[in-house]
Structures are given as structure tokens and as C-alpha cells.
């Protein structure tokens, strides 16, 4: 292990390491803590310039209730869910199929198709913007949830296929081959042998892609415009313009918008990191 385990060092070093840990985490999260502190203040405090002193009154419940009652935040959150869940399911489903094909069948175009999925995944959004917007309009989907859902399914299937393919490559092939010798059809092999084996990977992938899609801002700006369909990222940005002086509300809104991926991350931490670091350990 590198660096050397700190337990082996002197007591003084051990204590100062622990103090340094706490201090560094406070420093690292300082900008965020500032926002959280603002979100429990009263408007009076803010008008008087009391941003960093002890709040004259705690408005935790009032401010967070007001975010939901006087802004469309609840609607935005709902929209984000309506968009994110089917998009994640779609992208994971399509890419599990595609990843299996690329991992366990050999044919000439294989590596080139794989390379295309990877390359497409790195492309800047702006080069897709005008055509995707036009396509969406001509499909009659502009300013609907489906506009964003379809785009995310398609775009994320690049990254997801890369992910699933690399996971499935590592699975043993003997099972598949012996089933094939028995005369089991290719589809049955996929559904009854491969699918149960890839379940842990789909969980990791789903958690990761959920955060990507939930946090998307660009396509939420480009493909929808009304409050009825706008997800929480674009919604928050719009609120920022409207509620300019009500910092306590904006900050409470920001905390609310950030919460779902954060909760998901803390509950599914292992999956999340496994997904993110796939490929970081083997060349």
C-alpha cells in the first residue's frame, strides 16, 4: 500500500492526520456550506447583510416549504424524474444488447462499430444541437418530455455500450458455447444466461447514467421551453433570473435540485464508483 499506513506512524502524526482530514473537508466543501447556510436564513437577515453571522431566526422549514409553494420546483423535480427514469431504462436496455453483441460475437465490423460508439460519445453537444433540434421539431416532439428522453437514450447508448461491452467481455464464454451446442437459440442464450450475469453491471451503469441525465442542462435548454416539461436544472437556472434578490429561496432550490443524485450516490456509492472507474485499473 502507498502511502505507508498512517497507523504505523507516531501518535502525534495520527492525531494531526485526523485533524487535517476534517479541516480539508470543511475547506473543500466551503462554497457548498455557504449555500446551505444561506438556505436557512430569513429575508430580513439577507436584507440587513447578515450572511455569515448567526441567523436571527431559523427558517429551514419555511424556506424549503416556500420553494415548493411559490415556485414550480415540484413540477421541475417531477419533470426530471419523468425524463430521467425512462431514459436510463432505455439506454441501459439498448446498450446491454449492443454490448453483448460486440463482446461475444466476432465479425469484421465489430471493432469499427465499437469505435464509432466511443467516438460519438466524446463529440461536443454543440455539433449535434441544430440537427437534433430540427429532428425533434419534425418528429413533433419539441417541448415534450419525449424530446429529451429520446435524445438521452440515443446519446448515452454510446457510453453505455462501451461500459457493457467491457463488462461482458470478462464473462466466461463456456456457458454460452455449451448452450449453443445444446441448440439453445441465440435470444434464449441472451435472456437466460447473459442477462442474469450482467445484472450487477446494469445496476452500476444505471446509477451513473441517472446522474448524467439528471444533471444535464444543455439539452434541457435546447429541446424544451415551458415550465410544464422543463427539468430541474433548467428550472433552477430560470428561477435564478426571476428571484434575483431572494437568495434564501434560490439556495434552498439549489439544495433541493442537487438532492436526488446526491441521495442516490450515498445509497449506491459502491455501484457508482465501480461504474465510473471501469477501465481506470486495466489498460
Amino acid at each position: 500500500m502507498f502511502p505507508r499506513p498512517i497507523e504505523k506512524a507516531s501518535k502525534g502524526v495520527n492525531i494531526s492526520y485526523r485533524i487535517a482530514l476534517v479541516a480539508s473537508i470543511v475547506l473543500w466543501l466551503l462554497p457548498l456550506l455557504a449555500v446551505m447556510a444561506t438556505s436557512v436564513r430569513s429575508l430580513g437577515d439577507i436584507n440587513e447583510g447578515n450572511y455569515w453571522g448567526w441567523p436571527s431566526e431559523w427558517m429551514l422549514i419555511e424556506n424549503y416549504t416556500q420553494v415548493f409553494t411559490s415556485t414550480p420546483m415540484a413540477q421541475y423535480l417531477m419533470n426530471s424524474l419523468i425524463i430521467t427514469l425512462p431514459a436510463v431504462a432505455g439506454a441501459v436496455a439498448l446498450s446491454t444488447l449492443a454490448g453483448y453483441a460486440l463482446a461475444k460475437y466476432q465479425f469484421k465490423a465489430n471493432i469499427w462499430i465499437f469505435a464509432t460508439f466511443i467516438a460519438g460519445n466524446f463529440v461536443p453537444f454543440q455539433i449535434l444541437m441544430i440537427p437534433v433540434r430540427d429532428l425533434t421539431i419534425s418528429f413533433g416532439l419539441y417541448d415534450t418530455h419525449w424530446a429529451i428522453i429520446f435524445f438521452h437514450i440515443a446519446f448515452q447508448s454510446g457510453f453505455c455500450t462501451l461500459f457493457m461491452r467491457n463488462f461482458i467481455v470478462g464473462l466466461p464464454t463456456e456457458l454460452i458455447e455449451s448452450a449453443r451446442v445444446e441448440g439453445v437459440s441465440e435470444f434464449k442464450i441472451f435472456f437466460h444466461i447473459v442477462l442474469p450475469l450482467v445484472r450487477p453491471a446494469t445496476a452500476a451503469l444505471a446509477v451513473l447514467v441517472f446522474t448524467f441525465i439528471w444533471n444535464d442542462f444543455f439539452w434541457a435548454l435546447v429541446l424544451v421551453q415551458s415550465d410544464e416539461v422543463r427539468p430541474v436544472t433548467a428550472g433552477l437556472s430560470a428561477l435564478q433570473g426571476q428571484w434575483l434578490a431572494s437568495w434564501q429561496l434560490i439556495s434552498a432550490g439549489a439544495v433541493v435540485a442537487a438532492l436526488p443524485p446526491v441521495i442516490l450516490f450515498f445509497t449506491m456509492q459502491r455501484h457508482f464508483i465501480a461504474g465510473l472507474t471501469l477501465g481506470a485499473t486495466k489498460g
Partner: protein, 305 residues
């Protein structure tokens, strides 16, 4: 990436099957079809369509007029473009701080004391939240009237600075905000890498009296090279994708001084209705990104073969 070992178009025991119709030939295409179709419609085709559009004058509604390279000529004469381009370079250069900073934090946290898992999770936190929230958080942090940064500057006897309103400082301010989640990402990559170090090599080096910096430089960092590669790739992509923060923190201002190609493109197309010109900006950004995509693919294809 691991080698895909086994032969799948296996030797068939039934000689009567004609090769063409063997299920192992058809099935992969059926499995691939849905993903390939949507990916083609929403990613591959739009790339080429955008390139094509960049040769037209088009307001998004009326007729398109072929103007050849005029969009590009105008672009290369435009101050805004060069401002955006040089800001993009600045993003690229400064973002390269993320991998070493991430490594430093990973080394700092790679211990097994009580509660370390929670500390690692909290360090990773900025990557999980939306860039819109990050932008908001930092707008606060920088606010000249009550931002925490200025409170600190004043506390130490300096004068408050309005970073986001200062043409010279604004891009640095946004990049610092962008580095926050990016460092977190690199840190997690390196933590995983450090977890998978080859213990024998480390011990052997310890016997040879290697420690500290020498150990880090000659033994540990070479072993971390897969993590470094991924960290650099995602950092370059992150730097060139810098749209969300610019849009939420400054909208390119003051006076276009913090704009980047990604934001300039959006502005031209959505606010100024100049689709062809916007497409030309996107093509330039795409070409810059292509250098990295090509390098990544070259490395990948090489390791697969």
C-alpha cells in the same frame, strides 16, 4: 482492456448449415440494431448535417442559402471567436491541473482510518451535483458584496474584487469552479488505481530503500498510468464541454470576455438565429475535439489488436 478471447463463429458440427444463415452471424446484428439506429439518427447523422449546414446562411426557418466558406471567413475575422478560442485554450491548459490535484488528494486520503469512506465520499461530492448548482454555488462564493471569498480577502486586509464582473479574471473564476468537480473525478480514478497497486513491486522497492518521492515517481505513478490516461481524457473532454458553467455564471459576459466556443455557438444559433454561422463554430470545436478522439481510438484499437 481485456482481450476478447474465444472464437464465436465456432466450428460448426453440422456441416449442412449454410454459412450465410447461421444464427451466430445474424444474431449480433439484431442485438446491435436498436442502439445503432438511435445512435445514427441522434449522433452520427447530426454531426455530418452540422458540417453541411455550416456552408449555408440560414435563420432556422426560411430558405438556406449556399455561401461556401463565408461563415468560416467571418468567423476567423471575428474578435469574439478568437476570444472564445483563447478561452477554450485557457480552459484546456488550466484543467490539466485536475489530474495532479486529484492524485494529491487521493494520496492524502488513501488510508484506513475510521470514517475515511465518508471523507472520500464527501470529497467526491462536487462531481455528483449538477453543474448548474456548481455555477450557482460559486457565483455566491465570488459575490463582491457578501461572498465568502471576499469576506476572506477583506479579513486578510485586501480589497474586495468582483471576479465575475472583471474581464481579466472572469474566465479564471469560472475555470476554478469547473476544476472543483473535475478534481473530484480525477481523485476517485486515482483512489481506485491506488487500491489496485501491485504490492509485491512496492515491497521490493521498499527493500531497495525507495521511499517518498522516489517511490511515488518511479514505482507508483507508472503503475497508475491507466488511471492517468482516463483522467486526462475525461479532463480534456470536460474542458472543451465547458458550457453549463459559462451559461449559469456569466452568460459569456462581461462583454463576451468569458465566452467559449460551446457558448458562442449556442448564442449565435438560439439568440441570433444564425444557424449556419453557429454550425461553423460547432465544427471548429468538433475539429479540436477530434484530435483527442482520434488519439483515444488509436490507443484503444491498438490495445484490442
Amino acid at each position: 482492456m481485456a482481450q476478447s478471447s474465444p472464437q464465436i463463429g465456432l466450428p460448426d458440427s453440422r456441416p449442412s448449415t449454410r454459412r450465410k444463415w447461421r444464427p451466430t452471424v445474424i444474431a449480433p446484428w439484431l442485438f446491435l440494431a436498436p442502439a445503432m439506429i438511435v445512435f445514427f439518427v441522434y449522433v452520427i447523422y447530426p454531426v455530418f448535417d452540422s458540417i453541411w449546414l455550416s456552408f449555408f446562411d440560414w435563420d432556422g426557418l426560411g430558405d438556406k442559402t449556399w455561401i461556401g466558406l463565408d461563415n468560416y471567413r467571418e468567423l476567423f475575422d471575428s474578435d469574439t471567436f478568437w476570444k472564445a478560442f483563447s478561452n477554450n485554450l485557457l480552459w484546456l491548459v488550466l484543467f490539466m491541473l485536475a489530474p495532479p490535484c486529484g492524485l494529491a488528494i487521493a494520496l492524502f486520503l488513501n488510508q484506513q482510518v475510521a470514517g475515511i469512506r465518508a471523507v472520500k465520499a464527501l470529497f467526491f461530492f462536487p462531481f455528483v451535483i449538477s453543474q448548474v448548482v456548481v455555477g450557482l454555488v460559486f457565483s455566491w462564493f465570488y459575490d463582491p458584496n457578501f461572498g465568502l471569498l471576499n469576506e476572506a480577502i477583506v479579513f486578510f486586509g485586501g480589497d474586495p474584487i468582483a471576479i465575475l464582473a472583471d474581464e481579466k479574471l472572469v474566465t479564471y473564476g469560472i475555470i476554478a469552479a469547473g476544476l472543483w468537480p473535475q478534481i473530484a473525478y480525477c481523485m476517485i480514478l486515482y483512489l481506485t488505481g491506488l487500491n489496485n497497486l501491485n504490492g509485491e513491486q512496492i515491497e521490493a522497492a521498499q527493500l531497495d530503500n525507495a521511499k517518498g518521492w522516489k517511490m511515488l515517481w518511479y514505482i507508483v505513478i507508472p503503475q497508475l498510468s491507466p488511471a492517468t490516461f482516463i483522467a486526462i481524457v475525461v479532463t480534456v473532454i470536460g474542458a472543451l464541454r465547458s458550457f453549463d458553467l459559462v451559461a449559469t455564471m456569466t452568460a459569456g459576459g462581461p462583454w463576451g470576455s468569458s465566452t467559449v466556443l460551446a457558448y458562442m455557438m449556442y448564442e449565435e444559433a438560439i439568440f441570433n438565429y444564425r444557424m449556419g454561422y453557429g454550425a461553423a463554430v460547432a465544427v471548429v470545436l468538433f475539429l479540436i475535439m477530434d484530435i483527442y478522439i482520434a488519439y483515444f481510438l488509436w490507443r484503444m484499437v491498438k490495445s484490442e489488436k
